[in-house]
């Protein structure tokens, strides 16, 4: 992609001629481990991330959340390193580390001074194949994950609504269940369950190693060969598609939880890059999301928060890089004296406007300018760049999609936005959740401590 041409010709914005696109270098080891390296020499640091192609959407019923549970157990020691050693060694090397689990991936990362990359590779390679799963450690960590669930979901009204919403919006897609898992499933994992999950998915040929920072690609490839090269690949069985069946009419639900404010959550079934028959439709949906919620000037803020003052907050979101078809979500909190039903009508009216009237040139220009700028801003963070590469690769889109993004958004027309609004934002494929606040009784007692 000739970005220079793109900037000048399409956007009428000046060229950043001296600013060359940073390249991703790719190499695959004999055992199937793919390594992706992006150089950024602004600071003597590097982030290293190991991405596994497994997440909550890979999980069958009964063991939901097991990918996340395994992620926790990955810090519990191997044949070579006792429990706690991993984190101690990283810390001693000045490293910052953690891990995260999503619907479509599980990833582990360390950020360190670039010269210490080998420390992270050695430890990650070790736990890719040699994890020690001990019953007493699982017992404790189960409690930790249960506390995590309480904090994230059980005591958070919005998160609770989101969880209930997903479970109704989907019929058979594995996006139906929460990433952290259902409580009864979390309570009943066994060491055998975790072991089986680990053996099934944790192998070099099911992983991607992403490194972004002050490194030379060839050196990284050599280091990777040294530490990961000897690991045996596995026979990875393909995942069943679990394609969501067609929704045949609007779904509405009420979620009653202790809360102070009502809110509404709406989701339309839409395709993503992985599932769309026509790729442009996905980019048009992305632009549509920007028209509604691309900052203070976007329609939801302008029309609903400021104009009609029917909402105190209103957002739209769409994740085009999911592995399976996803939801285009609208979420809003009514202003005092307004109801969720009035808000629903107002949100639907915004959808209707998109279906009937072409978006303006100004709106299209604004989104394109924002996309262009944020493409630059993102380069300020190695971590974000690695996230992007890792996500795209892990869901099977390929890292190259990141480089196409600006150009593809630039090709979107107002007609295309109207077309996807008409085609996908339809009532029969809509699910709606209303959060109905239940009274919270509180009381305070203060005394001198003994």
């Amino acid at each position: 992609m000739n970005h220079r041409l793109l900037y000048t010709a399409l956007l009428c914005l000046p060229a950043f001629a001296g600013h060359a696109e940073t390249k991703v270098f790719e190499h695959t080891l004999a055992n199937g481990l793919k390594i992706l390296v992006k150089e950024d020499h602004r600071s003597p640091v590097a982030v290293s991330q190991v991405w596994y192609k497994v997440g909550s959407s890979y999980e069958p019923g009964g063991i939901t959340g097991i990918s996340h549970m395994l992620e926790h157990m990955m810090f519990k020691g191997t044949d070579k390193h006792a429990q706690g050693e991993f984190s101690r060694i990283i810390a001693e090397n000045g490293g910052d580390e953690n891990a995260f689990t999503g619907q479509d991936y599980t990833a582990y990362f360390q950020t360190m001074e670039a010269s210490r990359l080998a420390v992270s590779f050695e430890l990650e390679a070790d736990r890719m194949r040699n994890l020690h799963l001990l019953p007493e450690e699982l017992k404790k960590e189960l409690q930790v994950v249960t506390e995590e669930r309480r904090m994230r979901t059980d005591d958070n009204p919005q998160a609770k609504m989101q969880e209930q919403f997903m479970s109704v919006a989907y019929s058979n897609s594995a996006y139906k269940h929460p990433i952290i898992g259902w409580p009864a499933d979390i309570a009943n994992y066994t060491v055998e369950d975790i072991q089986a999950w680990y053996q099934r998915w944790y192998a070099p040929n099911n992983a991607t190693l992403v490194v972004v920072g002050d490194v030379q690609p060839t050196t990284v490839f050599e280091l990777a060969e040294k530490y990961f090269g000897a690991l045996k690949p596995s026979d990875i069985k393909p995942l069943k598609p679990q394609t969501e069946i067609e929704q045949l009419g609007v779904r509405k639900m009420t979620v009653k939880v202790p809360a102070k404010l009502p809110s509404i959550l709406m989701g339309y079934k839409v395709p993503v890059l992985k599932t769309a028959a026509n790729e442009w439709e996905v980019y048009a949906l992305e632009v549509l999301a920007g028209v509604l919620d691309g900052g203070n000037g976007a329609r939801l803020s302008k029309e609903l928060v400021r104009g009609k003052q029917i909402a105190v907050s209103a957002n739209a979101g769409y994740e085009m890089t999911s592995r399976m078809s996803d939801l285009f979500e609208l979420e809003a909190t009514p202003a005092a004296g307004k109801t969720v039903l009035e808000l629903e009508a107002a949100l639907k009216n915004e959808v209707k406007k998109l279906q009937q009237t072409l978006i303006t040139t100004d709106e299209l220009q604004r989104i394109k300018a924002q996309v262009l700028a944020s493409d630059i801003y993102q380069k300020d963070s190695n971590f974000y760049q690695a996230m992007q590469i890792g996500t795209l690769e892990t869901v099977g889109l390929g890292w190259q999609k990141a480089d196409e993004y600006v150009a593809k958004i630039n090709q979107v027309t107002a007609e295309q936005v109207r077309e996807v609004a008409q085609k996908y934002l339809v009532e029969d494929h809509l699910s709606i959740a209303y959060l109905e606040p239940q009274t919270i009784n509180t009381s305070t007692e203060k005394k001198e401590a003994k």
Binding site: P14, R42, P44, V45, F75, G84, A91, E92, G94, D96, N98, A99, F100, T101, Q103, T111, E113, K140, Q143, V144, V145, R152, D154, D155, P258, K260, L261, G295, N296, G297, S301, Q309, V312, S313, G317, T321, T333, A335, A336, A369, Q370, A373, I376, Q378, K379, D380, N382, F383, Y384, M387, Q388, A402, I440, T442, S443, T444, K446, K447, E448, A449
Partner: protein, 466 residues
């Protein structure tokens, strides 16, 4: 390409989530529902950077801090006023709402015009407050026409905010809704109660976004008056980090405050009085977990014990996945997902806070483990091995503290606002190396008086747990 970063479950909420959120695309104003969380976030930055900071004053008396970074055609600009919630007086929420109203109208533009002007050039604008500060910030591309348009808009917002009655009413209502919504979060309730009990009648006691009663009583004239008093050149510092030449930076700084009166620097805040005795406060709340907060006023940013306490706390509960608290509470006993401690230095002594969240019926056990871990540590101090490990972590990860323009700008703002030495960054590692087992033990004993600890718990008490 937008990647929704919150749709995953991480291992550790605090270190994990914060780390990544910070890297997320900067949207204009900080999220409506994160009003309170920002206080802790902003206040707990231990910051510095080994980059060369250029420093001068504008003719109007604003201090400027500039760092040139190359490689990306972008710049981060912040104008920071000593106009945080500590300046609210009895009108809690005044500083926050004043900052929040800035971009709803300025010069001849209304909120739509302002948003359109920034967004049409891909710039991110923000205005918000913490306890100590009010910050107006801009991230923009440096290409001239884009940059000029963004800068002109920011300059007008700073110099000619409209404070229209209609915008004021709307934003006030939104704030009130946000305050109401906070009451459904046991974590936020705990945090509010904690600051309250630590600071009593000191201006640090009340929450930055205010409380429903005081915000309801605010008038637009109050905001105008607050703006006139505190948004003045002598009370501002300017931070510029990015791909601008020194000359461009000088012009930028001058333009930004050209329309502001010189005014005067805000008066010193009153000193913080230590609580007279230890207290224990419980807020009954229908949650599945109890939030536990233990602490007392800690240190000011310029406290000479800063480095000893920083390293000392790192060992106790500041070190992410490796710390005494994390080990005792989570790794050994599985009592909580997060357990940590922090000194949050501010202009005057900010809080020292130890916190965790646990299932209601094991609150007593968790609190006991927390108190014992803290008491043992204060009594015995760290071991030599713990000190060596902590130093290795802190100095080994030094470069990561400022490896993005965004982080660097945050750190430069801290140095500028608190008037820290310009070589603070270069001296940082050396100061860490100078810390000893004895200096930590001594500083902890002097600053953490266990007889005065304030304890707040929010959750369902034992008798109400089925």
């Amino acid at each position: 390409m937008r990647i929704r970063l919150l749709k995953y479950v991480g291992r550790v909420s605090y270190s994990g989530a914060r780390h990544i959120e910070a890297k997320d695309k900067a949207v204009t104003r900080s999220g409506f529902f994160y009003l309170f969380g920002l206080i802790l976030l902003a206040a707990s930055q231990y910051a510095n950077a080994a980059a060369k900071i250029d420093h001068w004053q504008t003719p109007q008396g604003s201090r400027v801090y500039y760092v040139r970074t190359e490689g990306l055609p972008m710049v981060d600009i912040q104008v920071v006023f000593d106009a945080g919630s500590a300046r609210d007086g009895q009108q809690f929420g005044l500083a926050s709402l004043t900052a929040g109203l800035l971009d709803t109208g300025a010069g001849k533009w209304n909120a739509d015009d302002i948003a359109q002007r920034f967004e049409s050039v891909g710039a991110n604008f923000g205005a918000g407050s913490t306890i100590d500060t009010a910050t107006v910030s801009l991230r923009t591309l440096t290409d001239k026409p884009l940059f000029d348009k963004a800068l002109e808009t920011m300059q007008t917002i700073l110099a000619k905010p409209a404070f229209n009655e209609a915008d004021f009413k709307r934003e006030k209502n939104r704030t009130l809704a946000g305050l109401k919504q906070q009451e459904e979060s046991p974590g936020v309730l705990g945090s509010i109660a904690f600051y309250n009990t630590l600071y009593g009648t000191h201006p640090y006691a009340h929450p930055d976004p205010g409380v429903i009663k005081t915000v309801s009583a605010l008038k637009v004239a109050d905001l105008r008056r607050f703006y006139q008093n505190y948004y003045v050149a002598a009370n501002a510092i300017i931070v510029i980090v990015g791909d601008l030449t020194k000359e461009q930076a000088e012009q930028t700084a001058e333009k930004l405050v050209a329309g502001l009166p010189v005014g005067k620097k805000a008066d010193s805040l009153p000193d913080v009085a230590m609580p007279l005795k230890a207290t224990q406060q419980h807020i009954e709340f229908p949650s599945t977990q109890t939030h536990v907060l233990v602490g007392l006023p800690g240190i000011a940013r310029k406290d000479p014990d800063f480095f000893s306490l920083y390293v000392g706390n790192h060992i106790l509960g500041g070190g992410g996945l490796v710390s005494k608290l994390f080990n005792e509470v989570r790794e050994k006993r599985g009592l909580a997902y997060g357990a940590s401690s922090a000194f949050m230095p501010m202009m005057k002594p900010g809080p020292f806070l130890v916190s965790l969240q646990t299932r209601n019926d094991q609150t007593a056990e968790a609190l006991q483990v927390l108190n014992k871990t803290l008491a043992d540590y204060i009594a015995q101090g760290p071991t030599e091995a713990e000190l060596v490990a902590a130093k290795k972590n802190i100095t080994g990860g030094f470069a990561m503290r400022f490896d993005t323009n965004k982080k660097l700008a945050g750190y430069v703002a801290m140095i500028g606002f608190y008037d820290m030495p310009l070589d603070y960054l270069d001296a940082f590692q050396q100061k860490i190396e100078q810390v000893t087992v004895a200096s930590i033990a001594d500083a902890l004993k002097r600053h953490v008086n266990l007889q005065l600890l304030q304890t707040v718990t929010v959750g369902k008490s034992e008798k109400n747990v089925k």
